[in-house]
Structures are given as C-alpha cells and as structure tokens.
Symmetry: C3
Subunit: 265 residues, 3 copies
C-alpha cells in the first residue's frame, strides 16, 4: 500500500509518517519530556491532560520570576496566543528568550490572529525567534503570511521562516519547505471541544522534545491526535464523552493501531 519515495531530504518518504509517529509515541512514553506551556486560560486543563495521556509532563507557570527557569529546564516550549493578556505577553518574551538561549525547541500556535491586528503583529515578531514549528488554521495562516494557504504558499513560508508549518483543516498539511505530508485523519467532533487545536500544538511540542527534526515531530503529532480523535469518536455519544474518550485513547494507543489507522499521503 505504502511505498518509498526518492528525493526527500532524509531518505524517508511522507508515507513513512505513520511509522515515525509510532516511534515518537514510544519515545514520549520512554522519555516523558517536560513541555512548558504558555497557553490560554480555557485550554490549560485539557492541554495538561492531553500531555499526560500521551506520556509527556506539563508545566504551566506564567510568573515572570519563574518562567525562565522552568523553560530552561524543559524539553520543549509551547507558545499559544489565546486569551493573550499582559501577563502572557510578558511571560512569552522571557520564555522565548530562555528557549533560544538554552536551545529548547519551541512551537507557536497563533490562535485567532485573524481577529486582531495587534496579535498578528505580535505573532510575526515572534517568528523572528526561530520557532521549530507553527501550528495554525487557514485563516491564521493567511493573517500570518499574507498568502492563501496553498501547498506552494505553505512551502514558501516554511522555507522563509525555517519552520515546519502544521496547517489544521479537513486534511492537515505539514510542510517544511522541502517535505510535505497530508494527514486525512481526525473527526468532526474535534471542532466541538474547546482547546482541541491548542492540545494538538502541545502534542507537537512534546514530539519536538524527543525528535529534533521538526517536520517529523509535527507530522507525527498531528497523525497521533487525528487517529486518536477517530478512535475516540467511535466510542463517543457527543462532545462531552468525546473529550473524555480522546484522553483514554491517547493513553492506550499503541504503534500498530496508530499505523493501521493513519491516512497520510
């Protein structure tokens, strides 16, 4: 069914994404990377539980006195711009500086930057600090890059910013300017639970904590959460039980089930 594809940078084809995802899932459980999260108030609890269910360990302080030390000792940093107040803005400045200095990989989730120009400007300035990955939706990509989210625009923006771009949608797209993956997993109920996208970004951060190649980490994380969403939906009666089931599923997911279900092209 799957076949190798020549010419990719690392000799691994996009169709190897399911195997990469399975390997990273094992690594998350073996290494328990700590992910420091600057995330919005709505998402904090669910994000922490998604990380724990996946094998990672969350920390979440925003205190300016503490966040530098927390980030310096973390395996990855998530910066999510939801409910972005003064406290989070200040914390982000310190956290990103610490991440760059200590070589801690970080990911940007530019939530709702299509809604306020000031948040979009802040996101564009943040990109200068070399995030490994950016996860966002189509409207946010347009606000960030100034382009419609075509495959070509994704690749161009990824090259220009030297990041892996993870674009969430009906099908998720992941590009680092050279490699591309389209992940067709996921379920409509994922849009009916708050903070699901925020949690997906946190999972990208966790994978960045155990995998230096940002394209692999991003594609793996979006495959894991998409497959978990599908499996959870099969057990759920609505968004309440779905949110519960996706935590159970992430906790119980194993490599073979993940590979069997992944739809990556």
């Amino acid at each position: 069914m799957r076949h190798s594809e020549a010419g990719t940078r690392d000799g691994l084809a996009r169709n190897d994404v399911p195997q990469i995802a399975a390997a990273l899932l094992d690594r998350l459980r073996a290494r328990s990377p700590r992910v420091h999260c600057i995330t919005n108030a709505v998402a904090q609890n669910f994000t922490a539980n998604v990380l724990l269910a996946s094998g990672a360990v969350p920390s979440m302080t925003l205190s300016v006195e503490e966040i530098g030390a927390f980030v310096a000792g973390a395996d990855a940093l998530l910066v999510n711009l939801g409910t972005f107040d003064r406290e989070r803005r200040e914390a982000t400045g310190i956290a990103v500086k610490a991440a760059v200095r200590e070589n801690v990989p970080w990911i940007l989730d530019p939530v709702f930057i299509d809604r306020t120009p000031s948040r979009a400007a802040f996101a564009r300035a943040l990109i200068e600090n070399a995030p490994k990955a950016v996860r966002l939706n189509a409207a946010e990509f347009a606000a960030l890059s100034g382009s419609e989210p075509t495959r070509g625009a994704l690749a161009a923006y990824a090259r220009a910013t030297k990041t892996a771009i993870g674009l969430s949608g009906e099908t998720d797209w992941v590009s680092d300017g050279e490699r591309f993956a389209a992940i067709a997993n996921g379920h409509a109920l994922m849009a009916k639970v708050t903070a699901m996208g925020c949690a997906a970004s946190a999972l990208v951060a966790a994978c960045l904590g155990v995998e230096p190649d940002a394209w692999r980490a991003t594609a793996a994380a979006l495959t894991i959460i998409g497959v978990a969403g599908e499996l959870a939906a099969a057990k759920a009666e609505g968004p309440g039980s779905f949110a519960v089931a996706i935590l159970d599923t992430l906790h119980n997911l194993d490599g073979p089930a993940l590979v069997a279900r992944a739809q990556v092209s």
Copy 2:
C-alpha cells in the same frame, strides 16, 4: 395540557416557551452565534464547551488591547462577575462600552454579589449600561435589587431596569415586567458541578445572539439547559459523568425532545 393565554405583549403565551426554545435551538445550530465571555477562571472551559455543544462559538480573551474588537464583532456578550479581579474589571468596562456602541446584546451574571458589597456595587453600576438580561439566584437578586425574590419584585425590578430577569432556583423564573414564565425542569446534580449556572448564563447570551426579544431568549435558554440537565441525569452515575452527559445531551437535543420534556407554566 398546555393552553394559550391572551393578553401577553406579543400574542405568545408563556406556554409557548417550549416551542420558542425549540426554534431558538435550531437557530443556534443554523447561525452559530459568537458569544464573547468575560467569565471566571473556574468556568471558562466548561462554558466554552457548553456553547460549542449548543451550536454557538465562544471567545474569551480578557486582554484590554483586544477585547473591544472581539466584542464589536460578536453576536452577544456575557459578563460574569466570578473571580472578579482587576483584569476582569478593566475588561468589563471596555467590553460593555463596545457592546452598547455596537448594539451587541449583553447579559450580566452577578455571581456571589451577596458575598462582597464592592461586587454588588459594581453590579448595580453595570445595570445602568442596559443589559438585555440578568441571570442570578435568590441571594444575588436580593443583593442586587434590595427586595426578596417574589414574582412581584422580579417584575418591578425588570421594569425598572428594562431587562429580562432569569432567576435560577428549584423552579426557574423569567420576567421582563410584563411576561412571566416558571420553568420546572432541571436536576439536583446541576448544583454539584461547578460553573453550571455560569454556563446557563452563557447559553442565555447565545440565545440573545439569535433572538432580539430578551424574555424569549432567557426563557428558552433556561428551558434548554434544564431539560438537558434532566436527560443527562438519567444517564449519569454522579456529578462527573453528569457534566459529560449534559454536553452530549445539548449536542444531541432536538426540538421535539425538548418540547416533550419542557415543564413551563
């Protein structure tokens, strides 16, 4: 069983509340109103999930730089006074001003104003800014209006402030000074899950986003959440599974089930 009643302002009787609620539920799903929420830290996640399950879309930033733009583009605004700190106080000033200017309907949930005089004074000042509705419990009504919560006192306060008052209790009461509804739905487990009342207020806001008549919107929202609570309780083994089941139930609820179960007089 139910009968029409002449003399109400709009020719619709209180016994039409179940049909109104069914119609508004359909409208929520068709129009997906965006509700901007200033709400307490405990309630943010559950409130967002109740709105999503009902068909609405939440936004929650408190940032003073952003909240004006978020409210101006929203279909309704919720102001909940729980965990009311400086940030929320400042955000509320800007948000209510934007709502008044842009004609965005807003609702006040004066949480715990019976506990601190300063919060009660703040709530009384807010009422000057013409909320469409106020949802509260008996102790909060007494602190706000200075009267015991009788039917007459509700009507008098609603007339004086030109709002719809939704009083939660064993039976919920809704008055705009002319029309009155008593909603006997709900379940004791609703008091065993934090933020259930806050979420009810958010649902009133969502209904205000699709229905200009505040009495109808308030009565419909309290009927919807009360019926959902009863149906969820039938599936629940305690407050944990109840909180999950009410989200599933809101997501799956349809007009006929709502009308069949509603107890409005």
Copy 3:
C-alpha cells in the same frame, strides 16, 4: 486485622483512620464547609468539582479587594503555589493574614518548590503563619525542610512547624510529630490526571473545616481520595474516564465502603 495501639496522643490509633475518615465524610455532607481556594489556573475547575462531589463548597476569587472577606467567612483556606504569579502572591498575603486573624484553618500545597528557589523561599516564609497542614511530595518536602523524606524527618519537621505533614507517594505518610499513618490506597492513574494532588490538598482543607485535629483531617482526606481513586480506576478505561469516575465515586462513597477498602497502617 486492625488492632488498637496504645500511647497515641488522643487514645485513637492510626488504625482508626478508616473510621475517622468515614466520620469526616459524613460531616462534610452534613455541614458543607466552604473552602476558599488559592490554586493554580490548571487546577481550579477540577478542584472545585472534587470539593462539590465530596460535599464541600468551593470559592476561588483571587481579587485583592475581595479575598479577605471571602476567607474570613470560609471554613478553611487552601494555598497552592502552582502557577504562582503576582496576583496569587498578593492574594496569598491577604488571605493568610485573614485566616490567622479569624482563626480559619489553612493548608499549604507547595507545588513545584523543588523547581524554583524563589518559590521555595516563599513557602518557607508562609510556614511561619501556622498552617494546620502541609501536603506535598518527596521532592517538595526535601526542598522545604532540607531533609530527605524519612519517617523521622517528617516527624521532626511536623514538630518544628506544628503542622500535620501529608506526604504523597506510592504510600502516603501523615505525621504531626507524634502520630503517624501510612495509607496504601491510590492508583497509578492518579498521576495521569492533572491537578489530582491539588485536589487532594483541597480535600484536606475541607476536612480541616469540619475537624480541628489536623492529623485526623489530613489522614482522613488522603484516605478518602486514595480509596476513591482505587474504586474509580476499576471503572475507568484511561485517564479521561478516570477523572470522571473519581468525581462520581467521591459523590457516592459511603462510610462502610470506605472502611472496607482503606489500607492504613
């Protein structure tokens, strides 16, 4: 199986802890103590729901204008140092002062003080204000006391600070310097849900609200949450359904089931 032990301060042996826990559980339901919580943003919602499920009533404002009045009228105060920002630091100063002045029992949960020296210093200063209890893990105990967490070190620190120390771990230890209990209940899934330890501390606070003897209150609370964790795990398929089930279990738990399951020595 269980036997009395002479020589303890109050004539009750450690093996009476299950009966004490059953009595306090009844008291929680009968008296509904209000617990004011200064706790981290990740834990607020789950903590409130654990308190409600156990029979207590949470309040959570951090506002400096309000928190003094809220604490003065509360039955117990929880101070949890997670996500400890300026707002929480300021609120804690006022809250602890009010607790001491009004004789409201309070408990300290020094989250992650092993990670930042400034938080550890703050915790040590707080201990001067006579908390009735401290609940923490081994790393936090070492950071607080400067000693490895042996039984002797626990007793010495409890005597020096006149507190009951509740040390969470594979087996929980409770010491007030004279009495000691080892509670072998609990389940591995408790470490896979965020804020479980925070919620355990909140339950200690609730028990302090109905029981002046801090050793009894602490041992009872840790027994209740440990037993509830075991019973919930038997119904759960992973951490998502476990978090739901523990709320249901706390709500439905009765004295005989608690005593039957408790493993205290």
